[in-house]
């Protein structure tokens, strides 16, 4: 083979010397600097056939019958743009899906998707489809087609925006600064209905959603951020029917008291729900009372509740505190950036004297002062379950800092106690940090001994 090739090369060279002279490379028999240059120009039949398969993969996907080596070969070569209906169930190879992801998105952190590129691809694919869905405008068939392809691989949906329906596209596209009134007048602002989608996703465990538009910037308009009653009801129903769901997160969606009540009434006795996140909404005391009902052992597996950045006041905090007296499951509670004040803070802290299951509590920026710190110091003395406390942004003052210092000195479990912007006084902060460091060391040792 080689000899004949050489000869042919020579012949070629000899036959047409003139045209090749323009390209000095062609004149040479051996091109040393080109590592790919080879005299074996006749490709193998196998390679040819694989190439053919690769070229016609879209129309005639042959993969199952191939030997593993060739399979890899084919998977390495097939185009990432091949329609999903061909590849989604056929190809399991991660490298192919990695290529797909990389080609589609710049930033790909596979670790957040359980190390599965395929899952990542399909989740993100579905997310983009849903995020770009405009009711009454986009064809619903696109999503209906996509769902059976994705359903098997989707475990989490993190929908960062939901577009509202628009009467005229031009208005939607170029929202003027002054047209703020227009949105509110729109008769129907219902968003995409999740009922059908959720039903068809058997492995869905985590669902995050924002009823709002992302990156609106200066195109802000209230109508972009409307979470209607119907939306709420449909979402709640679909969540209720989705029994395998573990984590639900509805944030930045202007969820108010009545909506929370609707949602919670549907969440009650949900078998697998472990995490509820209603952060960045406008839940008031009534909504907090509804949440308290959810916390109060009505949800068998609830571990984590996030209510940060709402407008819960003292009353709501008291309701949550009362729920905590009964609860023996909840481990994390985030009440950051509410307006509980000392009334609510004291109520919550007093509960912690009895409740030993709660591990982490966030009371940052809650307009609390010294009295709460006094109660918390008692909590720190007696409670053995608490490991993390966040009090940042509360003006507890120097006296409160001292009380906390006293409280924490006999504590062995608390690892974190955030006292930034609390004006607690440097001295007590330093002492508390010392204790915390000791506790951290202690916890680390315990963990090490456990791992051993």
């Amino acid at each position: 083979m080689v000899v004949t090739d050489l000869r042919s090369n020579i012949l070629k060279a000899s036959q047409v010397p003139q045209p090749t002279s323009t390209d000095p490379k062609a004149m040479r028999r051996i091109i040393a600097e080109d590592p790919d240059w080879s005299l074996a120009t006749v490709p193998l039949l196998k390679d040819l056939s694989t190439n053919h398969i690769v070229q016609n993969f879209e129309n005639n996907p042959i993969l199952k019958g191939l030997p593993p080596k060739d399979k890899l070969n084919v998977l390495e070569k097939i185009d990432t743009q091949i329609p999903l209906c061909v590849t989604s169930h056929l190809v399991d190879d991660e490298s192919y899906w990695k290529r797909c992801c990389k080609s589609k998105w710049q930033i790909c952190d596979v670790s957040t998707y359980g190390g599965s590129w395929k899952r990542m691809f399909f989740e993100r694919h579905l997310e983009t489809l849903l995020e770009n869905f405009i009711p009454e405008q986009t064809n619903e068939a696109t999503i209906e087609e996509a769902i059976p392809l994705c359903a098997r691989y989707v475990k989490r949906l993190n929908i960062k925006q939901l577009l509202p329906p628009v009467k005229d596209a031009a208005k939607e596209d170029t929202i003027s600064d002054l047209g703020s009134d227009a949105g509110s007048e729109a008769p129907s602002m219902d968003h995409f209905e999740f009922g059908t989608v959720m039903e068809k996703l058997p492995h869905l465990e985590e669902f995050r959603i924002t009823y709002g538009v992302r990156d609106c910037g200066m195109n802000f308009e209230w109508s972009l951020f409307q979470f209607t009653q119907r939306d709420c009801l449909l979402l709640a129903k679909s969540i209720k029917s989705c029994k395998q769901l573990k984590c639900i997160c509805i944030h930045k969606s202007k969820v108010d008291d009545s909506k929370v009540r609707v949602l919670v009434s549907h969440f009650l006795d949900h078998p697998s729900l472990t995490e509820v996140d209603f952060s960045h909404n406008c839940i008031g005391d009534r909504g907090a009372r509804a949440m308290a009902k959810l916390i109060n052992n009505k949800c068998p597996n609830l571990r984590k509740v996030n209510l940060c950045d709402n407008v819960i006041r003292g009353e709501g905090a008291k309701a949550i505190a009362f729920a905590l007296t009964k609860n023996t499951k909840l481990q994390e509670l985030n009440l950051r950036l509410n307006r509980m004040g000392d009334e609510g803070g004291q109520a919550i802290c007093k509960v912690l004297l009895k409740n030993n299951t709660l591990k982490s509590i966030n009371l940052a920026s809650n307009d609390m002062t010294e009295p709460t710190a006094a109660v918390l110091s008692q909590v720190l003395q007696t409670n053995t379950g608490l490991t993390s406390v966040n009090l940042s942004g509360n003006r507890i003052g120097i006296d409160g800092g001292k009380q906390l210092q006293e409280g924490i000195e006999s504590n062995k479990t608390v690892v974190e106690l955030d006292l930034r912007l609390t004006e607690a006084g440097q001295e007590s902060e330093y002492c508390i940090n010392q204790v915390l460091r000791d506790n951290q060391e202690h916890a680390r040792e315990i963990q090490e001994s456990h791992t051993k």
Binding site: M218, R336, L337, R339, D367, R420, L421, Q440, E448
Partner: protein, 712 residues
């Protein structure tokens, strides 16, 4: 997130680098570092746990701990730095909200107030409308209207003012919103910046710490190496010294050993020579012996061969005999089997026979019973017969005696003409057989013993008088000896007495005690009668003397007992001999037991015989009868005529017989002649008959002719 990036950016050469070599190197380094980190963690933690107690922490470990602490601090500081933005934002937001709430509150108040005033004004205006209707003067009305419009304008102005204010506020808010957006983006930028900075710092510090840790480890390793090297060198030096010492001592020892070896060698050579000579002679001797042995061996071999042959032959024979024996065994087995069969048969047969015999025995027993009955019957009959006969005989004898006496009287009176005296004959008065003595003539052994024991000289005589005549000499002979014997017996044969009896006897007097003891002993020895006692004493006396006196003993044995008739006869002679056997010296007490044994053995037989005779006695009523007396009785009767008379009678009879003879001869002769005469007459008659009979004519040769011939 920070941690993740730390791991990524630890290495010097970047993974993202364009150069593949560098990438490979980076990956390798990364893997290595991860492994190292894992190891370090494991080891470091171990060390922390261990060396906190031992206080001697390795430098590397120390460095690791330090680095860890430093990094921890750095991380938490970084975290704080980054989150500070958020916290500040939160705080600001809170403040902002509070302000918002306040402003909202004021705004609402203001709005309320404005609404109130405006509504008041509106009411006033509307009130004035009614007043206006009242007015009929157009000018007034116009004025009124102007006023109204003025009032309305003021209200509208106020409203507009408020609206403007609110719009201003809104604008302000919008501005604020823009500002907030800007601020937020700034914050986000700041956060990103800080994050990046943190990442950079952390990677740098991680790298630094890693380097430091490595260095410290290297240092530690170097130290450890040095330590070990020092130790090694020290131990090596020691080893060298020791080896030198050892070598020296070895050389010394070698020299010593060489010297010893030399001496040993010389000694050994001498010894060797000696031994060699000796051994050579030995060898010669042994060779000779060997020759001899060979010869004997050959001989033995031949012998053995011969023996072997013989044995072979024998073996063959044995095999033959064995086979024969086997055959025999089989044959015998067969016979054994047949015999077994036979035996079984025989057994069966004998069983049957036995059964038959048993049956027969039963029959015989029955017969015996029958016989016994018969016998009793017969004995009674016999007795009766006997008595009858006796009476008859007696009567006969008495008549005879009477006849004799009468004859005697007649002889005396008629023939001799002598006076005749009637002899005294008391026995003639008795009738029937002689009365048998009912009381046992022999007293019991115990009573006898009692007597003996109680006896003194006087008692002896008394007792002897009481006893029958024949016993007298006997008892006199052995009384003293018997007494002694009994005493000895009482002492020696105490074992025959029951223990209970001994206890009971203790309170009694010695005589009584011994007596009762003797009673028990006699019972045990089966001695019942006085005769037995005497027998015993005689037996003892025999043994006490010597065997030479066997005659005496045999006589002693025999008394006047009814058992042996022969002994009775000899008893007369015994009197003399037994008197001589009276000597007081008695046998030794130790021998008594042997003698007693012998006595018992001999005594058993008669004891056994006794029941038989007793049975017979009981059977026949004549058991206790004394035939000897009968004989005497009869003799007395027979001797009614004494010898003189008899002689006289004999002589008389002789004379008479002679006379008688003569007379008889005469008578006979007369008879003879009478008979002969008769014969003759008969014969004549017969002859005449024969001759005259017709038969003679019928016969060819008639007897008459023969007679004639004969006569002729």
């Amino acid at each position: 997130m920070l941690h993740g990036s730390d791991d990524e950016d630890d290495a010097g050469p970047s993974v993202e680098s364009a150069d593949p070599e560098e990438r490979i190197q980076a990956r390798r380094l990364r893997i290595q570092k991860r492994i190292e980190q894992q190891k370090r963690e494991a080891m470091g933690e171990d060390a922390v746990a261990k060396k906190e107690t031992s206080d001697e922490m390795g430098k590397g470990k120390q460095q690791v701990e330090e680095s860890r602490n430093r990094l921890q601090k750095l991380k938490s500081d970084g975290m704080e730095l980054v989150t500070n933005v958020r916290v500040a934002c939160d705080a600001r937001e809170m403040q902002h909200r509070l302000q918002d709430a306040e402003s909202k509150h004021t705004r609402i108040e203001r709005l309320d107030a404005e609404a109130k005033t405006s509504s008041e004004k509106f009411e006033e205006i509307s009130r004035r409308w009614s007043a206006a209707k009242m007015k009929e003067v157009p000018h007034d009305l116009h004025e009124m209207l102007l006023e109204q419009t003025k009032g309305c304008d003021t209200v509208i102005d106020e409203k507009n003012k408020l609206i403007n204010e609110l719009q201003l506020e809104l604008k302000q808010k919008d501005d604020e919103y823009v500002k907030d957006l800007k601020k937020q983006s700034e914050d986000v930028d700041l956060m990103i910046e800080r994050m990046e900075e943190q990442v950079k710092n952390l990677t740098k510090s991680y790298r630094d710490e890693l380097l430091q840790i490595e260095e410290s480890f290297i240092e530690e390793r170097g130290q450890a190496m040095e330590n070990n090297k020092n130790k090694w060198e020290g131990t090596m030096g020691q080893r060298g010294e020791r080896e030198e010492e050892y070598l020296k001592s070895r050389f010394k020892r070698v020299d010593d050993h060489e010297l010893q070896l030399d001496t040993l060698r010389t000694n050994d050579t001498e010894e060797y020579n000696m031994v060699k000579i000796k051994l050579e002679t030995d060898v010669q001797i042994l060779e000779q012996q060997l020759q001899q042995m060979k010869a004997t061996y050959q001989l033995n071999q031949e012998k053995l061969e011969y023996n072997f042959q013989v044995l072979k032959k024998r073996d063959e024979e044995n095999t033959i005999t064995k086979s024969q024996q086997k055959r025999k065994i089989t044959r015998l087995q067969d016979t054994l089997n047949s015999l077994r069969l036979k035996l079984a048969k025989q057994e069966k047969h004998f069983k049957e026979e036995n059964q038959n015999l048993v049956d027969e025995y039963k029959r015989i027993a029955d017969q015996h019973k029958e016989l016994y009955k018969k016998m009793r019957h017969f004995s009674a009959n016999d007795w009766k017969k006997f008595q009858d006969i006796w009476k008859m005989n007696e009567d006969e004898v008495r008549s005879l005696v009477d006849n004799v006496l009468k004859a005697d009287e007649t002889i005396h009176l008629q023939q001799l003409g002598l006076p005749w005296n009637v002899p005294d004959m008391p026995f003639l008065k008795s009738h029937g057989p002689l009365e048998v003595q009912t009381s046992d003539p022999r007293p019991t052994a115990t009573s006898f013993a009692k007597e003996i024991l109680a006896a003194n000289e006087k008692a002896q005589k008394k007792s002897s008088d009481d006893l029958e005549v024949i016993e007298k000499p006997e008892s006199r002979l052995s009384l003293g000896a018997v007494k002694k014997l009994l005493e000895v017996l009482c002492d020696e044969a105490g074992f025959l007495v029951e223990e209970k009896l001994n206890k009971l006897l203790q309170p009694l007097q010695s005589d009584e005690r011994s007596l009762i003891k003797l009673d028990a002993i006699f019972k045990a020895l089966n001695i019942e009668t006085e005769d037995d006692v005497t027998k015993l004493s005689n037996f003892f006396s025999q043994h006490g003397k010597l065997v030479s006196k066997a005659d005496a003993t045999s006589e002693e044995e025999s008394d006047n007992t009814t058992e042996d008739a022969e002994v009775l006869r000899i008893s007369a002679d015994a009197e003399g001999s037994s008197t001589s056997t009276e000597p007081e010296d008695f046998m030794h007490p130790n021998e008594i037991l042997d003698v007693l044994k012998n006595f018992v053995q001999e005594h058993i037989k008669p004891a056994k015989e006794k029941p038989k005779s007793s049975v017979m006695d009981t059977l026949s009523g004549t058991a206790n009868r004394d035939p000897s007396l009968d004989a005497a009785h009869w003799e007395l009767m027979a001797n009614v005529i004494d010898s003189n008379k008899l002689k006289m009678w004999d002589a008389l009879s002789n004379a008479l017989t002679k006379y008688h003879n003569v007379l008889t001869e005469r008578a006979n002769r007369i008879q003879e002649t009478d008979s002969l005469r008769q014969q003759n007459a008969e014969l004549r008659m017969l002859l005449h008959q024969y001759i005259s009979s017709k038969v003679n004519q019928e016969l060819e040769i008639p007897p008459t002719r023969i007679l004639q011939l004969e006569y002729s």
